[in-house]
């Protein structure tokens, strides 16, 4: 007896709800105005342009700290998303209140490649290694052209303890 697959709307609704719960509760993500777009399990973070994000009004250019924060937020969201994905798909996650602890940043290195223009920016992260205690995540940000990165970063994270 083969079980019928779940209707696509139900699957999408469950995934989107979990993703929104993940990011809506973090004041700093809201402060920067970061949104997250989802295609299957692939996430793209979006930083819509705002005047308050400028660091150098003469150029003008995004503040290097904003770029750093955008990369770090994207890395943490991707890592948390990867952490809950299996439980989410297996229906073991309480969507209304996923008892979620975020990974903690141990270190983060930002490589600035081009100055951030006053436009929207996008970022995607890749979890290169995720162990029981530590994870290593690489993240790339771009604006108009996917292959002209404005910055890339690598961070190490301490995973939340999963016992209990």
């Amino acid at each position: 007896m083969i079980r019928k697959p779940e209707p696509v709307q139900v699957v999408k609704q469950r995934r989107d709800a979990a993703l929104q719960t993940l990011i809506a509760g973090v004041p700093y993500i809201q402060f920067l105005g970061i949104q997250v777009d989802r295609r299957g399990d692939e996430l793209t973070a979006i930083l819509p342009y705002a005047d308050k994000l400028i660091g150098n009004p003469m150029l003008p250019a995004l503040h290097g700290g904003v770029t750093a924060a955008f990369l770090e937020v994207t890395a943490i969201v991707e890592l948390s998303w990867a952490m809950i994905w299996d439980d989410l798909e297996a229906g073991r996650l309480d969507e209304a209140a996923p008892s979620l602890s975020f990974p903690k940043t141990i270190d983060f290195t930002i490589d600035y490649l081009r100055s951030g223009l006053p436009r929207d920016a996008y970022a995607r992260a890749r979890v290169n290694r995720s162990g029981r205690r530590f994870a290593s995540v690489h993240v790339e940000a771009w604006q108009d052209n996917r292959n002209r990165l404005i910055a890339q970063g690598t961070g190490h994270f301490l995973m939340p303890s999963r016992d209990g």
Partner: protein
Amino acid sequence: MSETTDSRREMIARKFIEAIPHAGELGMKLSEIADGKATISMAYDKRLVGDPETGVIHGGAVSTLMDTCAGAAVMAHPSSPVATATLDLRIDYMRSATPGETITAVAECYHVTRSVAFVRATAVDGDPSRPVATATGAFALERGKP
């Protein structure tokens, strides 16, 4: 220290932050800037919280404070650069910042070449004996016309 030097310093400090919209947005206050060194503080702000469970400030806001302070230290180098931009920045997070406390970053531009400045920075909160984070970075230097 004369009163006029103090007020001049305050004016420079205010102008520096005013010139950087995002630094003003985060409520940064520059208190010292001279000889390749800078001190900037950022008061606790609920909008900057990264972990709603604990109320701890997001690492990204600490990174912004570090980057701003490091850039200020470069601009304050005796060789008087006209502009600077971050090439790379590495931040080590020693511990979570204590919720409710102001974070203060001190940056030192310890070496410059013709085109690059090297900077290190430390951020502390209420307990200066236990740093919240440290950072090292390389900055591109733009020299004025000789």
